[in-house]
Amino acid sequence: MPVSYYIILAATLFCIGVVGVLTRRNAIIIFMCVELMLNAVNLLLVAFSKMQNIAHPPGSVVINGSDAQIFVFFIMVVAAAEVSVGLAIIVMMYRNVHSIDVNFLNRLKN
């Protein structure tokens, strides 16, 4: 499968994520869209790693393309931690303003 397919899929996912973040006001949906963007990038990372391995098969080259595939797992772990923190923030926000609409978060404005 050509690597461009992966790139197009990742770009599409990323754009969906960006549009979601920009258009929605529900904090949880925004959060999910952020995760979507994160995973689009993860997908790119894995795709490029695969492409690297095809161009330079194991044994013939110095650069080992498998690094990124391992790196993605680390990103997932960190993302999981981040999700827990983010959800906790949303819970706190709900406790304070009884809403998870981000447009309520303008109390510092005045």
């Binding site: 960006v18 006001r25 981000v102 447009n103 978060l105 303008n106 109390r107 510092l108 404005k109």
Partner: protein
């Protein structure tokens, strides 16, 4: 001896410090004692110097005033006959006026009373510095010192804005003259490499006459300002805003004669430049005539005396201009006696009248204030040139010297002398003869002044009457003691070979006849019971001082204030303030617009972030195109 000489100006300075610093704690008596006492001790020290003949052509150097590789100006005193004579006048008359002031100023609060005396002491200090200095720079220090004291004392009653304006006028006019003096000092230093009198006078002949003329004219500009000559004389009549003893001390007896002292001191330079001397004589003559004509129809007792002072200073400059330096100095001395007496007498009259200065409201004070009347009469006789009073002998000499110099100057000077006697007798008649024209309250209040005021009057009256005898001409059996005394510093005037004795007798006769006519006329016109003080025609022009003040206001003061007003309203308010405020307003407007971006909505922030990142990516991808485009532009 050096220490004693140093103490002469130091004592009044100490008096200034004491009365000035402790003005809130000193009682009036103590303050008067300190102020008068320091001057009196100075006077005794001057007498000691005088009787010990402690003169030397060498300057006494105390320390370096200015010292650098190019120029060295020492703080040095020159004690010679000329400076000693001036010191005698300053401390002697100064002491009498201090004593007089202790009584005259009795209505002031102690703090203001002390302020008055501290200024007065500072003035005496500055004036002594002026005459003692052994170079032009020290003279200039004193010169400026007396200027500031004059300013402070004219504006002594600072709650009256009119007086403040008068003080400012005096100060500004003096400054104009001072610029000339300062330029002359610079010129002297650049030519002689020193400002010391000894260096300058001994090398004067080595300098080009044109340059000497320039220097002497600039020096004379300084004298014009300080000694109130045309065109800078208008400050002196306004300076009458100050207390009367101040008018007597500063604006009659001492400070205004600083210009005469300076010219007499620089006689070596002036003698080398006939052009400058001619200018001095002509300015002096013009001032003497103009001021005398104005004095004829003034209704303020102090204004009459002020214009009289300007006129008498003109006489002194005539004497200097025709080369009779000692005569000029002699007239300074006699003038100090009789003009101080006139002012103090006027002060006594004003005191008796309860502050009234308008002579149309006086009259018949002869009986109520006998001592003031008799002393004032002696002063009037002296200034009018009654035979053998001090004023006669000094003015006589001026007129005779003018005759030897030029006939027109002689006639005009004589005419000015006649005017002098006329306005003085007019004043005498209006104040002391006729009948009282004031309010009944004032008439009830009339009284003779206390002893502290009358004793100085009597002493000055004796000096006015007899002070001239030290210079009695040979014709009348006298001996020119003053000429001899001053000979080492100031050369005596040589009359040539013409017959002086005859002229003296002619003048004596003419004076007696003239005074009789003036007496009869003024008695007829001014010893009256009602006096309006209104004039018409040419008299009105004279009463309005030839409209010179209005002319100056129209030509210089008003355009200047208008220009300043234009600068304030247009350049300052609209221009500079507008620019500064405009920058502020622009920034505020801009920030108000930018502030709207910060809406507090998370969505907006994210949108801006996304757009910015997109733009950055676009720029990054197309940077080659952009760089090429930028290079094309620049």
């Amino acid at each position: 001896m050096n220490t004693i000489i140093f103490c002469i100006p130091l004592l009044p300075f100490l008096g200034f410090l004491l009365t000035g610093i402790f003005r809130n704690y000193l009682s009036r008596q103590l303050c008067g004692i300190i102020a008068s006492g320091t001057i009196f001790i100075s006077f005794l020290l001057v007498l000691y110097v005088f009787f010990n003949h402690a003169y030397s052509p060498e300057a006494i150097t105390y320390f370096d005033f200015i010292s650098n590789p190019l120029l060295r100006i020492s703080f040095a005193f020159q004690v010679d006959q000329l400076s000693t004579l001036f010191m005698l006048i300053i401390t002697g008359v100064g002491f009498l006026i201090h004593v007089y002031s202790t009584a005259y100023m009795h209505e002031e609060t102690p703090a203001h009373y002390a302020r008055f005396f501290s200024y007065l002491n500072l003035f005496v200090f500055s004036m002594l510095l002026l005459v003692l200095g052994a170079n032009y720079v020290i003279m200039f220090v004193g010169w400026e010192g007396v200027g500031i004291c004059s300013y402070l004392l004219i504006g002594y009653w600072f709650k009256n804005n009119q007086y403040n304006y008068a003080a400012r006028k005096a100060f500004v006019m003096n400054r104009i003259g001072d610029v000339g003096f300062l330029l002359a000092i610079f010129w002297i230093i650049s030519k002689f490499g020193s400002a010391d009198y000894s260096v300058v006078f001994s090398n004067a002949t080595t300098i080009d006459t044109a340059e000497i003329t320039g220097i002497t004219i600039l020096l004379f500009v300084g004298a014009i300002g300080k000694s109130a000559q045309i065109p800078l004389y208008t400050w002196l009549p306004d300076a009458m805003a100050g207390p009367t003893p101040v008018s007597a001390l500063i604006h009659a007896a001492t400070m205004v004669t600083a210009g005469i002292y300076m010219v007499a001191r620089s006689n070596v330079l002036y003698s080398l430049s006939p052009v400058s001397m001619g200018i001095v004589a002509i300015i002096g003559l013009a001032t003497a005539l103009l001021a005398a004509s104005i004095a004829l129809f003034q209704n303020d007792i102090k204004k009459v005396l002020a214009y009289s002072t300007v006129s008498q200073l003109g006489f002194m400059f005539i004497a200097l201009g025709v080369g009779a330096y000692t005569t000029g100095v002699f007239h300074v001395m006699t003038h100090a006696f009789f003009k101080a007496l006139l002012f103090l007498g006027a002060g006594s009259v004003i005191h008796a009248m309860g502050g009234e200065q308008d002579i149309t409201k006086m009259g018949g004070l002869r009986k109520k204030t006998p001592i003031t009347y008799w002393t004032f009469l002696i002063a009037v006789l002296a200034i009018s040139g009654f035979p053998f009073t001090s004023g006669f002998i000094s003015k006589d000499e001026i007129i005779i010297a003018a005759y030897s110099y030029s006939k027109p100057i002689f006639w005009l000077t004589s005419f000015a002398a006649v005017l002098t006697s006329f306005y003085m007798f007019r004043l005498l008649m209006l104040v002391f003869f006729g009948s009282f024209r004031g309010t009944p309250d004032q008439e009830k209040h009339l009284h003779e002044s206390p002893a502290a005021m009358t004793i100085p009057l009597i002493i000055l009256a004796v000096l006015s009457a007899l002070g001239g005898f030290i210079q009695l001409p040979h014709v009348f059996g006298g001996h020119d003691y003053l000429n001899e005394f001053l000979a080492p510093v100031v050369p005596a005037f040589s009359h040539g070979t013409e017959d002086i004795a005859m002229r003296e007798y002619y003048l004596l006769g003419a004076t007696i006849i003239g005074l009789l006519i003036v007496f009869v006329l003024t008695r007829k016109w001014y010893a009256v019971s009602t006096f309006e003080g209104k004039y018409s025609g040419f008299k009105n022009v004279l009463a309005h001082k030839w409209y010179i003040d209005e002319l100056y206001d129209g030509l210089i003061v008003n355009p200047f204030t208008n220009f300043a007003g234009f600068l304030k309203s247009k350049i300052e308010n609209s221009g500079i303030d507008g620019l500064v405020n405009g920058i502020g307003r622009f920034i505020r407007y801009l920030s108000r617009q930018v502030r709207l971006v910060q809406s507090g909505l998370v969505g907006n922030y994210i949108l801006i972030m996304v757009l910015s990142i997109t733009v950055l990516f676009l720029v990054f991808w197309n940077q080659d195109v952009l760089m090429g485009f930028l290079q094309k532009i620049f």
